[in-house]
């Protein structure tokens, strides 16, 4: 079956613009995660959804970052008034458990965001 799909693959925006990144998880997966991966570093957790409920947003770096998953499937990560430090790869992952600690996460290829 299809894996996690993210769009766009690449996004270039000017500083101050708003951007929206989309994630289509594996069909039926309950849990959805967003990560930020800076150049040369490991991914860092941003936020977690269980179905449509955002259960953890402790990793969002500022109130300019907002994520939603209104129908419990597709999710959108929105960044308002982008800054250069927002440049990174944004990864989405899904899993078919309710976030149980032994459930592996399946990752998309990411969106590479560049802020000029």
């Amino acid at each position: 079956g299809a894996g996690v799909s993210q769009s766009p693959r690449y996004k270039v925006a000017k500083r101050g613009q708003d951007v929206a990144l989309r994630c289509d998880p594996i069909s039926g997966h309950v849990s959805l995660f967003w990560y930020q991966q800076a150049l040369g570093q490991g991914p860092e957790f941003l936020t977690y959804f269980q179905n449509e409920a955002q259960l953890d947003k402790s990793g969002l770096p500022s109130d300019r970052f907002f994520a939603e998953r209104p129908e419990g499937s597709v999710s959108t990560l929105k960044i308002q008034r982008t800054q250069q430090e927002d440049s990174a790869v944004y990864l989405c992952a899904s899993s078919d458990g309710t976030g149980a600690r032994n459930q592996p996460q399946h990752f998309g290829d990411g969106t590479r965001l560049s802020i000029l």
């Binding site: 990560y35 977690y48 259960l55 953890d56 990793g59 032994n102 990752f107 290829d109």
Partner: protein, 112 residues
């Protein structure tokens, strides 16, 4: 709090020789541990996972890892490196909570 240390930022081996990528973790509970691989401009692919069953875990593409609680280690090994193994490797710890904590990664180069 949980954390992951990957002792080597870069490992270089010759094709056909063994691979050892080191990982140490810090965790308050009995953790779940994972290794993921990331090829350039691609997402992360699961290699293997440890979830308190057998301490020696076998994964895909000939990789395996051994969980050693006394050493808080989960090193990744492969008997014979292949050119296609060249990639970035991440050790991941997951505690009782939902969040994965990634190590900084080890870049594996395979020389012909």
């Amino acid at each position: 709090a949980q954390s992951v240390t990957q002792l080597d930022s870069h490992v270089s081996v010759s094709e056909g020789t063994p691979v050892l990528l080191r990982c140490n973790y810090s965790s308050s509970y009995s953790p779940s541990l994972f290794w993921y691989v990331q090829h350039p401009n691609k997402g992360l692919q699961l290699l293997l996972k440890y979830t308190s069953a057998a301490t020696l875990v076998k994964g895909i593409n000939g990789f395996e890892a051994e969980f050693k609680k006394s050493e808080t280690s989960f090193h990744l090994t492969k008997p014979s490196a292949h050119m296609s193994d060249a990639a970035e490797y991440f050790c991941v710890v997951n505690n009782y909570g939902q969040n994965f904590v990634f190590g900084p990664g080890t870049r594996l180069s395979v020389l012909p």
